[in-house]
Symmetry: C4
Subunit: 490 residues, 4 copies
């Protein structure tokens, strides 16, 4: 094994010649730069330096083996040459430290917004931007929430609601209430242990976790964290290389995942501008400018290696040939595609716009739900497929509304990241408990005992499909120069 | 009678061993803690101390006898052992004292909002939170008000309106205008004399008062405060113990209450988060944490002793067997249930969502009113039952609109508490006078002489059932991170 | 003639004994106090003093003779006993003086809002409150403006619009564009010369002025200010005393007024709370309290002497018997009443809600206009009557929209008071010129040459009757306690 | 050549006698003052001085020859008499200098709003006001943007979108994506080189530029800046003098312009009040007052020399006789006029309201588009004419929506001026690249490969024609005096 000095590494600190130390190993990332899904800028910040801390925040340990060719590994760093520097607390570090010290007690978290408020303070700016951002003007991001507010409730009274049972089955598997934790990327940005925290909390609350392709924990770690009898589903970004895709899918099935959720709404990643902005902070000036414009276009191509833009209906046959897991399409947004999914033999669909992170002005899942249910019913396909919705779920009433309109269950993502980031596993459990308590209270106040009692006529959706009121366009408003009347100059 | 020293009491100051002094008597509340409807935290704040002041703010004197077993009474406090401590004025006390000193003259109160503004300043934080809070995001709380704003008026002119008479009959009893004071709990939080203040003001203004189960005055006190010929109705939370329920109902009838209003929208108490937040202030740190989560669930069960979640239509026969008072169901929210109420022989229904304190996204009573009237008419039941609405009434126009759409009368709650809290009985009388004056002005400007002249075609309800505009979700908005365009860093 | 000393007058300074000096004459107003339409408080501020300045701001000189019995006149003040006191400039005086000194040039007034902005600074608080206030929550006040914003334009292009003519005839009288100055009370609050300023400016701009019953100039003054060939209409508040009414109407006709506009929307004055609040400033403390409540009720009765609440359709025959002026009803708000007016022989109607000062939640005139036109057409009455609208007119587009929907002309009130108050006659002329220029520009851009070319299909009124968006309820919002999520206490 | 001294010039500094130095030449502008389209005030600021800098910001060099009679030229300035004065940096200059120094890197511009934000800081107040202002209350200005927000997307998934092609043909000419730079006036206000910057950037991005009549570059300059094979269209304001019009049109054709876009929505210029306000800054006091009122009216007449208000359908025959360029009408706003345009033989129409600068409350082009497409289809004219829309385009989704509803391409104006003003040619190229990238991303996420794949059913326009929500009326809101409840005076 070759030993390389820190001084030697430090010379390779530019785009044309870029070495980085990760966990004591030195890699030449020059050729990998344009392929990096997160963009080259983020690697260039570590060029010639030890990038372990930055790497660990985002990646599972085994990713290097998967994606870097062996020749990129140059040797080990010579520990004797490393100069330890005391870490200086920045203003941002201090702000976060104080926010953590003065954090409210977990018991003061009364709803999911409380968790989000605390998370916005204790997360790094990068993590907050990555988690919270949506596409472009974030109209859809907010519409996902707002759409639920256009549904009103018609509670029935004088019914014996001493006993209420919110449990259900999802693809045949028990869930203590009709909600699963959906796949979200980069858990370690929010918590040092990453996605396994969600695995453990799901187990405690007896709900199902969907494991993400882009987790910062490895698949093995998330599988190992599983409790007895716990159910996990697997979310897949389809890789352009069919062999890689096959390897991933079969590993998931082999390790006990019970369903395959294929993401279909991301042939290209959406523009998350708040996230993009944060990346410019601290960037070396020479990385900016003319070249950057080309880089942006390059990134769009690079990502296409990881997410196949050519994925189409014909590929489903192949998927069914390589796995016996039931297949669910995540990201269906029209009744037309819902019918196709059922006809192609999928066992479920997730009505979803990717949390408002992909296409701005996509409609909310909850708005689409009645049109999907109606058209599946007309085609006689409603019983052959389960429908889930995600996006904007924050309250027990939201879950109730989705069930009333025909969803089998709802998925939840960001709120669990916020709970995890601010209070760890206990936080996630508490957040789930709040949702379950709220749902059961709503059931009681609506006069129902079980999910089967929930009927469409219990919700008023007269205005669900109306978009008279649109989320505020903050960018437009911010640059708009308001007219003001002339006054005396007092 | 055993004499107990203050030092002895002070040792019993924890959850496992909790004594409290109330009006010179020492009680062991350890076993009662988990049953306390208001939660154990509020009692634990008084553990080992004299809790008389806190007790009196909330409870009628006779409640201890009703709910505590005799063995909880340990003996009397030895007065010689009590150390008098001068009360120190806190910042909050000072803020309130000044607010009271600088209170505007009663004559400056031009509308009900003025009373609310003053009340928000002179009430304790706890009282303000308890009175003003609604369920969850308080969408329904505000919708109750907003819905009236979707009703517009079609005034007729050139009619002789020299004389205007706003009086009516409610269940056969005279009322100077079509409004009654509805049941609200914990009056002593706002005024040391509690609900009897409302009794006296109602008498002066010749309107009917509905007496609450959860009053901080005793039933006897409220009955005694009655003026000559004054009418009172009785509001009932149905206790799980039928014997207790029977005792309460028959006492009310015996003491002259003229109708029984059974609350049907509260099989479980709603989540009033502003109220919950206030309870965390000053709580000892050890009460927080993991245990608290369990407590929350416990409270939901505890309350079920006081409000029976199994109450259902079959119980009505039993109620009719134990009382000859006419029965009115308070909290009906659909035409389906309105029809059931009429068929089961109820003499009235209150369209109500409990002032937005129970189920968020329940529709407003005024929105439901036309659908209820229509369906009762279709069933031929409209003449057999009186319809009242409550929630959001603040102006004479609101009352006019309710009457035009078929209500017999409206109920009003919070505004009377605010008037009472800020100006006592005179305040309540003035507030009622304002409403009556406004109503009569509206009648005159609408071209009608009596309530019977008010017709549905005088209101424009084209948009009443539209929910394009929803009350702002402040929690969501508060945590939303608004995008901003890049600018020069000036 | 008896001479009375100032010392003597100063002793009569209370409600039970109230003398006031006006223009050197001493009056005993004790008996008149409860009858004063403006309330007794405003007179009590002058009790025992010289009230000339306050009197002149509001009343025409000849009003004392009309309404005070001769015995109220006690004698003349002895000039030798009057102590001259130097007027001290208050903070409020100073604010106004500076606002006037720093007033923008008249040419900087680009639209009517500019005038309103300046007027809000240069007017006394009392005048601003009186002019600007509307009824209760001022929903209708703002709806009058907003309703125009629900009407959109469908401009036609490629038409020869070199020549544009905006002139019209109103009741047969020429007007340079389809707008008249409507009746507004108390002009001297805004300008020392009062309503005659409007008379002169109307003449310059060749439009018609409607003379108000409650002017602070006398009828004679407004008639004398008339230019050659200038047309004036007369607005009437019907007095309960038919003899007084007859005297007023016949005087108006005799002095050349060309039409009688009878106000029919004010059988009782509306609650203008901003105006009421201002009246409490500086009020002596003893005037407040219990007595005040009674006073409020008294005022409602007192005003009924000046405005007859018994006015009804049968009275029209009598009016037609005492005058040959064409009769127009001002304040019609439904198609039903529009039809009645036509059937009773009226020559015109003003769709109006009294500038939002009477009944809150009355609909806007512009919203009512299409329904009135339609129903008159159906009844075959459209040609027998002219329709005017007022309320909310601020732009040339507003006038165009009214004409397109069938109005003969529009009335404008407050903006003229604001222009008069801030820049006098020149201001009013400039404001009128702006409106006329805007209208002609709109005509050109819409592709029309004359008012007759304006067609209903040029406006899009799809949403005119929608009230999904309601003016903000500031009182409610102000007292609403917004929920906020829990955060770290940084 | 006569030499004139600076002292001599300085004496001619008033309206009645006004000389100005431009590029070393002295002109007597007294007679020209009332004809100046920009108003006389702006010339009077330079009276008796050297106005070269102010002139160059707005005019092409050759304009003097075109519009001033030869006798206005008096002679050359004697250089020896000119006193050089050091330019003092004003507060405003300093603000701009710092804004330019601290400008973000071009790569930080993530969307068009960023450019607008930077432009608002680096432009002079005059330029910002001229570029950004709209007519009157700017309701239409903002509605142009908002209308796109009432259109939602129905994305199809599981389609092979590896390859996406956004190119199209406009009037038969290739464009890399369906967007052209529309005509905007006075480019030198934003960039010293003016419109040629847009010419060069269009070439780089392979899109078409529309050349404006009111450019501050001369036609020759813009033609010369053309790249190889680059296409330019010519926008025409029709001059009242047909000879001038003919000369302009034939020059454009001769120099290679490929289409003639005749502006039809400006028979008179709209009221852009923000722009008008800026003109009052620094104006000498004596220019204000009574005279100014007359001037305003004069300007309306003056402009009619430059833009013919008598332009009408009959003129089209004449246009077709003097040019063989295809004719497109810019500013069509109804289906009626769209049909006329097709019948008269126009090859295209631009649905446009002139960027909200002409008639306030004109509807947005995107709202009109479906009604125009429908009616042309009904008349069988849809294939004979191309439809473009402009106004409010800021995002790739906006372009996609326009294409889905039947537009051939969209025009963009202000955003290009902002990009040019803040970052020059590179800025414009970057802004265009952002739009193209966004459009291609949207196409991929919508599941389409070419523009031909984009179908009407991919957009949800249920609420497109609704105007329940109207842009805020800032002038009205600003002067509205909000009611507030009475509180304690703490």
């Amino acid at each position: 094994m070759r030993l390389i000095s820190a001084q030697e590494v430090s010379k390779h600190n530019k785009r044309e010649d870029c070495w980085v130390i990760i966990h004591g190993k030195v890699y030449d990332l020059t050729k990998f730069l344009p392929e990096h899904p997160g963009g080259e800028r983020i690697i260039l910040k570590q060029a010639g330096k030890d990038g372990t801390a930055a790497f660990d925040q985002i990646h599972p340990l085994d990713i290097i083996k998967q994606y870097l060719p062996p020749e990129a590994f140059l040797g080990e760093i010579d520990p004797a040459t490393v100069v330890k520097t005391a870490k200086v607390e920045t203003e941002e570090d201090k702000r976060r430290r104080l926010a953590i010290e003065k954090k409210p007690a977990l018991s003061e978290m009364l709803n999911l917004y409380d968790f989000e408020a605390v998370a916005s303070q204790v997360l790094t700016a990068e993590a907050w931007a990555y988690y919270s951002s949506g596409a472009e003007d974030e109209i859809t991001l907010r519409e996902n929430h707002n759409a639920f507010h256009r549904i009103w409730l018609r509670p029935r009274v004088m019914r014996n609601v001493l006993n209420v049972d919110s449990s259900t089955k999802i693809l045949g598997h028990h869930s203590s209430f009709p909600l699963y934790i959906t796949a979200t990327a980069l858990g370690k940005l929010g918590h040092p242990e990453g996605e396994v925290v969600l695995t453990r909390a799901s187990y405690k609350q007896k709900i199902i976790q969907m494991i993400p392709t882009l987790a910062s924990c490895s698949l093995d770690e998330m599988i190992s964290a599983r409790g007895e009898g716990q159910i996990q589903f697997f979310q897949l970004y389809v890789n352009s290389d069919k062999n890689i895709t096959k390897k991933i899918v079969q590993a998931a099935e082999e390790k006990g995942c019970k369903a395959l959720f294929i993401t279909v709404d991301a042939p290209q990643l959406g523009r998350r501008e708040k996230d993009m902005r944060v990346k410019f902070v601290d960037a070396p000036p020479d990385v900016q400018g003319e070249h950057e414009i080309r880089r942006d276009r390059g990134a769009a191509l690079a990502i296409s290696k990881f997410i196949d833009p050519s994925l189409n209906w014909d590929d489903l046959k192949w998927f069914m040939s390589i796995t016996s897991m039931p297949i669910v399409l995540k990201g269906i947004q029209t009744s037309e595609d819902a019918i196709l999914a059922a006809k192609y033999g999928c066992k479920g669909i997730v009505l979803s716009n990717h949390g408002g992170r992909q296409l701005d002005f996509a409609r909310s899942a909850i708005e689409i739900l009645p049109e999907v249910v109606d058209s599946l019913k007309k085609e006689g396909l409603l019983d052959s497929i389960e429908i889930y919705v995600d996006g904007g779920i924050r309250r027990g009433t939201d879950i109730f509304k989705a069930i009333a309109l025909g969803a089998k269950a709802v998925g939840i993502g960001r709120p669990m990241l916020y709970a995890m980031s601010s209070y760890g596993q206990e936080g996630v459990e508490h957040a789930l408990q709040l949702l379950k308590d709220e749902l059961e209270m709503v059931m009681r106040l609506m006069g129902v005992n079980t999910l089967a009692d929930i009927r469409p006529e219990m919700v008023d959706i007269k205005n669900l499909k109306d978009h008279n009121f649109v989320p505020k366009d903050y960018l437009f408003s911010n640059v708009y120069d308001k007219p003001i009347p002339r006054r005396s100059k007092l």
